[in-house]
């Protein structure tokens, strides 16, 4: 029995135990026991992934059907290397989130229903990348959707926004499921069986291949939260309990990327050029739009949700570039792009877990997720602040974090596509520089966004009583964050072997370990060794540190009331810049894209119109995609609904008429 087998077998067992424990244990100990079992389920999933990555075969099959009446075929779990990567991601994220939930969940988030839904959600997520055929895949997909919807629903009694979020989420999830169902149906129609091997062996051709691709890409893009089907993310992530937001954002949406990789690498590998162009546009628009919305948002969890759209957009961009390069025979550079996609997946999973858990920790301590009302938390909650800052470092793609490595590999693949000379491909020659610009703008705005998050939430002084009276959370909440932060730094410092594993998962060659723990890309002539960079920085830092320490001994820091007079009074924290004012220049620059609504009320004193007593400023950001695309559709649905209401007017005769008409139609059809 291999590690993969053990993992696959232990998953349903642990999921069942966690489910039973959630229902059976009483309120006081439910979070501890169910949370621990869920964390173990996560670890089992991660172990399965490790097994699959090591290349150990393993499978688990269930025969399904109604005994004696119908046989529906076998459901098979047989993860390959690509699935292994995603199993590890899902497992580690699920385990950290469940661990955090032990301390975090209370009240409405720790009910029987909530903890019972968690193992369903987690197991569903682990079935998807392990599935060996389309039916099992869709089954896992539905379990995942079911579990996450129940979890999202948990705080509906206290906050009315939750209900609207659940509605949006359920609608978009079903849209995704229907698209996938239709897409796989097209694939299965031309194949002999439902397993991936069978589907890949005889793929459809021509129009039906494109139809399948569009349907599947649409379904996976909806789950991945790409523009314009991202609308559920900024609603569901803020309203879900934070540990669930972490699992949804860091693991669940990633399965959309797994789906896209599955389709483009395995099921339909030789698509026409416009597939890649379509994905490139989708990814580029998502990246820029996502981070732009994130940079001007003040709600911390909403901001993180939009940042998820941005990161998923970057992954799809990388995938599209890889497809494009492959189609022109530039395998080596395409491989680098694919490795970048996997590194982005791993990096985003690590840092988004930390950031959402950090947001949860802040929410737990202050009851606030509005950055405008936070501040000074670094002194009140140093452990949360430190871990979250490391997550933000990766989100801003700065060295020495995982985000930096992933973005570096992506950029290297972008600038090394062959674009020169009359023989080079024209589409690539136009697409690559635009993509570089898009990635760069995204990186720049991400920098601003996460400086805003860290600077406004943790630095300076509290902007509300809740922030000034916050207390650090217990270790059960801070330790999972620290583990996540450790992963972020670890991946950033020793990317060598991670990149090797990523390369093996997508069948890429030309990735080598280099330096102390770095990664080399010989095909594009590039090398990155973060450890050496750190050592060099330390060597440079030594003289600086010596000078500073000696000077500090002679002239120590002196604390005064007001170090600099012109700042005026330091006592009033409301004088500080808020998150909204921090992003104000950006809102002005991108006014045409964001179209904020602003209200400015100036109240004058009674004595004179020249004296201002009070200025009230309100700014509301409405998602322009939602306003332009969804509101008309929703209005149309309402209108159709109104029309349909006319069919029912309560008259018995009309209902009898319907039945009669139906009967006649059926008889006509039968006799035909």
């Amino acid at each position: 029995m291999t590690l993969t087998d053990v993992g696959l077998l232990s998953q349903p067992v642990l999921a069942g135990l966690a489910f039973i424990a959630a229902l059976a244990v009483n309120d006081s100990r439910r979070s501890a026991i169910a949370g621990t079992l869920n964390a173990l389920l996560g670890l089992a999933t991660a172990a399965t992934g490790v097994g699959a990555l090591l290349g150990e075969p393993g499978s688990l099959t269930f025969a399904t059907g109604i005994p004696g009446i119908a046989h529906l075929g076998q459901l098979a779990l047989a993860p390959d290397r690509l699935g292994g990567i995603f199993l590890v991601v899902v497992g580690v994220v699920g385990a950290l989130s469940a661990w955090f939930g032990v301390g975090y969940a209370h009240g409405a988030t720790a009910t029987r229903a909530a903890w019972a839904a968690y193992p369903i959600f987690l197991w569903g997520m682990s079935i998807v990348p392990a599935a060996g055929d389309a039916v099992t895949f869709l089954l896992g997909w539905e379990l995942m959707a079911l579990g996450s919807t129940v979890l999202l629903h948990s705080e509906h009694a206290t906050r009315p926004q939750v209900r609207s979020a659940v509605l949006w989420y359920a609608a978009m999830t079903h849209l995704s499921f229907v698209l996938l169902l239709a897409g796989f149906a097209v694939l299965i129609a031309s194949a002999n069986g439902t397993t991936w091997e069978a589907l890949a062996a005889s793929p459809p051709t021509g129009v039906s291949a494109s139809l399948a691709f569009v349907l599947l890409a649409g379904g996976f893009a909806t789950k991945a939260g790409l523009v314009p089907v991202h609308v559920w993310l900024p609603r569901a992530h803020p309203e879900a309990p934070s540990h669930v937001s972490a699992a949804m954002s860091a693991a669940m949406v990633k399965l959309g990327i797994y789906g896209l990789l599955l389709v483009t690498l395995r099921l339909l590998p030789d698509g026409p050029r416009w597939w890649a162009i379509g994905l490139l546009v989708l990814g580029g628009v998502s990246a820029v739009y996502g981070i732009l919305e994130a940079s001007v948002t003040s709600d911390l969890k909403r901001l993180l949700a939009f940042s998820t759209t941005e990161n998923l957009g970057l992954m799809v961009t990388g995938l599209a570039v890889a497809m494009m390069l492959r189609s022109t025979g530039q395998r080596a550079v395409a491989d680098v792009a694919l490795v970048a996609v996997v590194l982005l997946v791993i990096s985003h999973a690590a840092f988004k877990t930390v950031l959402f858990l950090g947001a949860g920790s802040i929410l737990h301590a202050t009851g606030e997720r509005d950055l405008d009302r936070l501040g000074g938390l670094a002194r009140r909650m140093p452990r949360t602040a430190f871990a979250t800052s490391i997550g933000a470092l990766a989100a801003a793609a700065l060295p020495i974090s995982s985000g930096f490595v992933a973005e570096w590999v992506l950029l290297q693949s972008l600038v090394h596509g062959d674009t020169r000379g009359p023989t080079a491909d024209r589409v690539i020659a136009i697409a690559l520089p635009i993509t570089v610009a898009v990635v760069a703008l995204t990186a720049g705005l991400a920098l601003l966004t996460f400086v805003k998050v860290v600077g406004i939430a943790f630095l300076a002084r509290g902007r509300s009583p809740e922030a000034t009276n916050a207390h650090e959370n217990p270790a059960s909440m801070t330790v999972p964050m620290w583990v996540g932060a450790g992963l972020v730094l670890g991946l950033g410092l020793v990317p060598g072997w991670v990149a090797m594993v990523a390369a093996a998962a997508v069948g890429a060659s030309g990735i080598e370990p280099a330096g102390l723990a770095g990664v080399a890309l010989p095909s594009v002539n590039a090398l990155l060794d973060p450890v050496s960079l750190v050592l060099m920085s330390l060597a440079v830092a030594v003289p600086i540190a010596v000078i500073t320490v000696r000077a500090a001994r002679k002239a120590p820091r002196r604390t005064v009331d007001l170090p600099w007079g012109c700042g005026g009074v330091r006592v009033d924290p409301t004088m500080q810049y808020t998150a909204t004012s921090y992003a104000e220049p950006l809102v002005r620059i991108f006014d045409d894209a964001l179209r904020p609504t602003r209200d400015l009320d100036v109240t004058h004193t009674v004595e004179s119109d020249y004296l201002v007593r009070e200025v009230a400023y309100r700014q509301r950001m409405v998602d322009q995609v939602e306003r332009g695309l969804y509101e008309p559709v929703i209005r149309l649905l309402w209108r159709i609904g109104d029309q349909a209401r006319r069919l029912q007017d309560g008259s018995v005769h009309r209902y009898l008429g319907f039945s009669f008409a139906a009967l006649v139609v059926v008889l006509l059809v039968v006799t035909w």
Binding site: T419, G455, N525, K554, R558, P585
Partner: protein, 312 residues
């Protein structure tokens, strides 16, 4: 041996930086009809500031003293990575342009956090503007990097420079000209020079860089000043070497290094003087016209990439 060369490069940069700033200030003062404080004044300022005690407000965090040190280290590492004197690089820390940009960004971000940590309205204002400029500069930087890397096939600065040294005519090709103009605008924006930011301003409402460091004093301010100046040396030195690749040492020999040091000093100081002279005639543009300037530089960088496809 290479490590020694890198150490020498850092030493030269640190020694030259206050002189560069002094020359720039002196040129400007003379052109404006003032006597000026002398070329050595920035050096004396830094020495004085480093010896003085920093003042801290009640409840100010450790970031107030950590950020200046981080900024200096980030600037020093980028000075070490950029081939200012010679093209020899450390084997495991290549002078990859993306890495250089990221290392500089660490300093940018540290400064922005310092502005917020001070907890005053001006600090936040400066930080917000600083990050806005940094965010919008990013596309120009990376596209210009792309343009420079296309003819060479690598983003390693030393290889780019070597190609220019072996064939100096490539320097005046459209690719290179457009990329250099774009990069120069970036350097002005990143180092807070006119027309993006006025380093000599005393009016808080127009400040960007100065607003963030208003609360710092003594040793902290000394490091902050030195760190920001070193960024100027690194970036200006890079552009100068790309524009005039002559004199850069091709090997680690002592003779070549001495020539390279002299050549670099002369090139840098002349470039600095030219910027200072130009600044006399420039006014700071409105903050919301800075994006226009950056969009212009972006388009130049982009055209440079487009042009690079054809001029093989």
């Amino acid at each position: 041996m290479t490590a020694l060369a890198v150490a020498w490069q850092i030493l030269v940069a640190v020694a030259l930086t206050p002189v560069l700033v002094g020359v720039m200030r002196q040129v400007r003062a003379r052109l404006e009809g003032r006597v000026g404080a002398g070329v050595g004044q920035p050096w004396r300022d830094v020495r004085k500031l480093l010896a003085k005690e920093p003042l801290a407000a009640e409840g100010a965090g450790p970031l107030m003293s950590a950020v200046p040190v981080i900024l200096v280290i980030s600037s020093l590492v980028s000075v070490a990575l950029v081939p200012l004197l010679g093209i020899a690089t450390l084997a495991w820390v290549p002078d990859d342009l993306f890495v250089v940009v990221s290392v500089l960004l660490v300093g940018t971000v540290a400064l922005a956090l310092l502005g917020l940590e001070s907890g005053t309205a001006f600090g936040g204002m400066g930080s917000s503007r600083h990050m806005m400029i940094a965010a919008l500069v990013e596309p120009t930087v990376l596209v210009a990097v792309y343009a420079l890397s296309v003819p060479v096939g690598t983003t390693a600065l030393s290889s780019i420079l070597q190609a220019r040294m072996s064939d100096p005519t490539t320097v005046i090709s459209p690719v290179s000209l457009l990329a250099l103009v774009a990069l120069s605008i970036v350097v002005l924006a990143e180092t807070g020079r006119l027309p993006v930011d006025n380093p000599a301003t005393h009016l808080e409402l127009t400040m960007v860089h100065e607003a963030m460091i208003l609360e710092s004093s003594g040793r902290d301010l000394g490091w902050l000043e030195l760190g920001s100046w070193l960024r100027l040396t690194a970036l200006l030195g890079l552009v100068v070497n790309l524009a005039l690749p002559w004199g850069v040492a091709a090997d680690l020999g002592v003779g070549a290094t001495v020539i390279a040091t002299l050549a670099f000093s002369v090139k840098l100081l002349i470039a600095g003087s030219m910027i200072a002279a130009a600044e006399v005639f420039l006014a700071k543009v409105r903050l919301f016209r800075v994006p226009e300037l950056l969009a212009g530089s972006f388009v130049l960088a982009f055209l440079s990439v487009t042009a690079s496809y054809l001029l093989v």
